[in-house]
């Protein structure tokens, strides 16, 4: 038993954190927002060069062949920095879906390009008010094409390809679609998160290639969602921790009624509780990251638990960080708002708490008992 990251993983975390601190400080984020940018291209290139994009892509397709925990380490740093790159969409979602369900030819086409960062991918699952993963997707696959609307899709302005959740004669499936086709129309939406653009994508008989292993295997698709969710848990943990220390530092500096704001029990206890929530969420993420690769039977429960605790931690952290900053926190010049908005993105993108609660409860042995 060893419940800690390996030395190489700690080094990876340090490297990622250092890079992001250097290339993606808060002022850079403000610059990107002001420039209406959808991505920090310089950062994306740097991240690609260090091999982060290929971390969990197998070596034969140009990746490093590392595991979910290594990817989690990077996701956590992305969350800490609220990094404006399509790491989640392209690597965590699209690359993993292709690696899991794609045939050799599909992997050959897409994985090296995703690993190098030359192509950006995304995962198109939500269908407006019908929900984030509507039972019996409204987008249909027929005769090698897909039709219908996906909205909202994150980072879809940058993406050249999408893995699309669709139905094939009523059974669920995933398909790879080239977004540069003229049978695909993208409409940019007004996005709550100023650092992650969202689009509605209309597919009009757009050429698509089914990821065969996904067809009609709903549980396998759910497992993919579990794996993705583990990464968002790491991302949320990174964000939450950033908020805790940002708030702590501010409170140590700020004097109020003749003493540091940090000396007030209301502030101390608030931050203690959020720190506990964050450390606990990290512990669940660790296990879920380990289970992603090592214990498939545990994954559904582990991913659900990680998701629930990470969502709770980041929600509290993002809100109370701003509160502790007081008036200054409400200004664009302060750094609280990046997290305040990103937290909602993470909380909403991959299903509500209720989905994860249901999934967790349904997987615990003994919960299928009959009523007495």
């Amino acid at each position: 038993m060893n419940f800690d990251l390996a030395e190489e993983q700690k080094m990876l975390a340090e490297q990622a954190r250092g890079l992001l601190a250097e290339l993606s400080p808060p002022d850079r984020l403000r610059e990107l927002i002001d420039g209406n940018a959808e991505s920090d291209e310089q950062l994306w290139r740097a991240v690609a060069e260090l091999g982060f994009l290929g971390a969990s892509i197998s070596e034969e397709y140009g990746g490093l062949g590392l595991g979910a925990l290594d990817l989690g380490v990077i996701s956590e740093e992305m969350g800490r920095a609220v990094a404006a790159v399509p790491f989640y969409a392209s690597i965590v979602c699209a690359a993993d879906a292709i690696q899991t369900f794609g045939g050799a030819d599909q992997k050959e086409v897409w994985l090296p390009r995703l690993a190098s960062g030359d192509t950006v991918g995304t995962l198109a699952h939500a269908e407006g008010r019908q929900g984030w993963w509507p039972r019996g997707a409204g987008v249909s696959f027929e005769n090698g094409t897909v039709s219908g609307i996906k909205t909202p899709v994150g980072d879809a302005g940058l993406a050249e390809m999408a893995v699309v959740y669709c139905n094939v004669k009523g059974v669920p499936a995933l398909a790879a679609v080239d977004l540069t086709s003229d049978r695909v129309k993208r409409r940019k939406l007004d996005s709550f998160d100023q650092l992650r653009a969202h689009y509605a994508i209309e597919f009009h008989d757009a050429p698509a290639s089914l990821l065969d292993a996904s067809v009609d295997d709903e549980e396998a698709i759910r497992s993919l969602i579990d794996r993705i969710s583990v990464q968002t848990s790491f991302e949320a943990v990174g964000g939450a921790e950033a908020c805790v220390y940002m708030a702590r530092d501010y409170a140590m500096d700020r004097q109020i009624f003749g003493r540091p704001l940090a000396s007030y029990q209301a502030i101390k206890h608030k931050l203690a509780d959020i720190l506990v929530a964050t450390e606990f969420a990290r512990s669940n993420a660790f296990f879920a990251g380990w289970a992603s690769d090592n214990s498939p039977d545990d994954l559904a429960v582990a991913a659900s638990a990680a998701r629930l605790s990470a969502s709770n931690a980041y929600e509290q952290a993002a809100r109370e960080n701003l509160q502790i900053h007081g008036g200054i926190g409400y200004t664009f010049e302060a750094d609280c708002h990046f997290h305040y908005r990103r937290e909602r993105t993470l909380a909403l993108t991959l299903g509500p708490r209720q989905y994860w609660a249901d999934r967790l409860v349904g997987q615990i042995p003994g919960n299928q008992m009959e009523a007495a």
Binding site: A126, G128, R129, Q130, G131, W132, R135, I149, T151, P152, R187, L189, D190, S191, F192, D193, H198, Y199, A200, Q255, I256, F257, G258, R259, Y264, A266, I267, E315, R319, L322, Q323, G326, G327, I328, G329, Y330, T331, F332, E333, A334, C336, H337, Y340, R344, T345, A347, L348, T349, G351, P352, R353, Q354
Partner: protein
């Protein structure tokens, strides 16, 4: 106890209804209209003038000051009826009536009263407040902006923040330090400031919402005539208390939760709607119960006021719960709607209102008494618990760290 109008109240209500029916429609804003700031101020002034002519400006203000000298219940009735129209009401009017006039009325000279009260009631003068500073928020008495007497004027230097609509205000109410040699509360003095004075530089603050309703105001060698001082030197803290006391009770809250229930009902889920989900119902019903409680609690406070009792820190309870509830429920509403609430492709107006609430709630939890300050007040003033241990007690301002 009687939640219905008394005969007198009913009469007043029908009088108000009739007056509003005759005068309000001409001033209504078109639905969803976004006016530019000057246009909005102009319209707000016009409606205030209408109110004045109708005898409804300053319902609570004593007759001696040109107000109506009405009861709080009358003010409530008027407010309830007025809200049925979409009228231009803004801080540029509200700060004058709710903050500037009470303090001028109580601490000002006859001349000052004559000069400011009637024009403000008529909507001719607009006001902003210049209280908070970068290092003086919850701890208002920590203001550093200095005023030094120079002949028949004071020379003021410093920086104020969180003044709403300062760029469209004629006058500001200003609190500054005139004596740094005494403990911090005692060295403060209150002024009214002509916003067109040389040295007054108003800059918008860029907010996280994207808007800039608030300003920073830089004061550089601004000369404020002695006759703009309200009360004596050192009376500034007492003036602030007068202002802040008035602030709490009149904050009307709008009910939000019914709208959120409808938002949930318009979110399909598993062949039904999100409002059919028991967990959603439990959360929204709990919030709705709290919202209603706040409404009846406010009614109890108004009854106290109408009897001449001072609800004091009880009024803090309203604001404390409102701000947190707004944050919690707007966040929840986004989750109920799900991914679509991140970037709506339909029903975008409702979703954007929820975004607005989720962002604005962060300001509300801070402005006009942060959550933590309000809890201190409630525990100390209502429950009689001891005050915080203070490191600044009895220490002259200029010797504080």
């Amino acid at each position: 106890m009687d939640f219905n109008d008394t005969a007198e109240e009913a009469e007043f209500r029908s009088e108000v209804k009739a007056w509003l029916a005759a005068h309000a429609p001409a001033h209504e804003l078109p639905d969803g209209a976004v006016l530019d700031d000057s246009e909005e101020v102009a319209r707000g002034k016009a409606w205030q003038r209408e109110l004045y002519d109708g005898g409804y400006a300053g319902i609570l203000l004593p007759k001696s000051l040109g107000g109506r000298g009405g009861t709080i219940i009358e003010a409530v009735v008027f407010d309830e009826e007025e809200r049925k129209y979409n009228l231009p009401k803004g801080p540029y009017i509200g700060i004058g009536l709710g903050m500037a006039l009470p303090v001028i009325g109580k601490h000002g000279t006859e001349d000052q009263i004559r000069k400011f009260v009637e024009p403000t009631l008529k909507g001719e003068l607009t006001w902003c407040q210049l209280f908070s500073e970068p290092a003086a928020g919850s701890d208002l008495a920590a203001v550093r902006t200095r005023a030094i007497k120079d002949g028949d004027a004071y020379v003021v230097n410093g920086q104020k923040v969180w003044s709403s609509w300062a760029h469209h205000s004629d006058w500001g109410i200003l609190v500054v330090r005139t004596d740094p040699k005494v403990v911090k509360h005692k060295g403060l003095t209150f002024f009214v400031l002509d916003m067109k004075s040389p040295g007054v530089d108003v800059r918008p603050i860029r907010q996280i919402s994207g808007a800039s309703d608030f300003n920073e105001t830089f004061l550089t060698d601004v000369r404020v005539p002695e006759d703009c001082r309200i009360g004596a030197e050192g009376e500034g803290w007492a003036c602030c208390m007068t202002v802040l006391m008035g602030e709490r009770l009149n904050q009307g809250e709008e009910g939000r939760i019914e709208e959120l229930m409808q938002y949930a009902a318009q979110t399909p889920r598993d062949g039904a709607t999100a409002l059919d989900d028991p967990a959603v119902r439990l959360s929204l019903a709990t919030a709705y119960a709290e919202e209603r409680a706040a409404k009846y609690f406010q009614a109890r406070l108004r009854t106290m006021v109408s009897r001449g009792e001072n609800p004091g820190a009880l009024a803090s309870m309203m604001k404390l719960t409102y701000a947190s509830r707004l944050q919690k429920t707007s966040g929840l509403a986004m989750e109920i709607r799900g991914t679509d609430a991140l970037a709506p492709d339909s029903d975008a107006v409702a979703t954007r209102e929820i975004w607005h609430d989720y962002i604005w709630s962060t300001a509300l939890r801070i402005a006009g008494g942060a959550d933590e300050v309000l809890r201190n007040q409630i525990s100390e003033r209502v429950l009689g618990m001891p005050g915080e241990m203070r490191a600044d007690k009895g220490v002259p301002f200029d010797q504080l760290k």
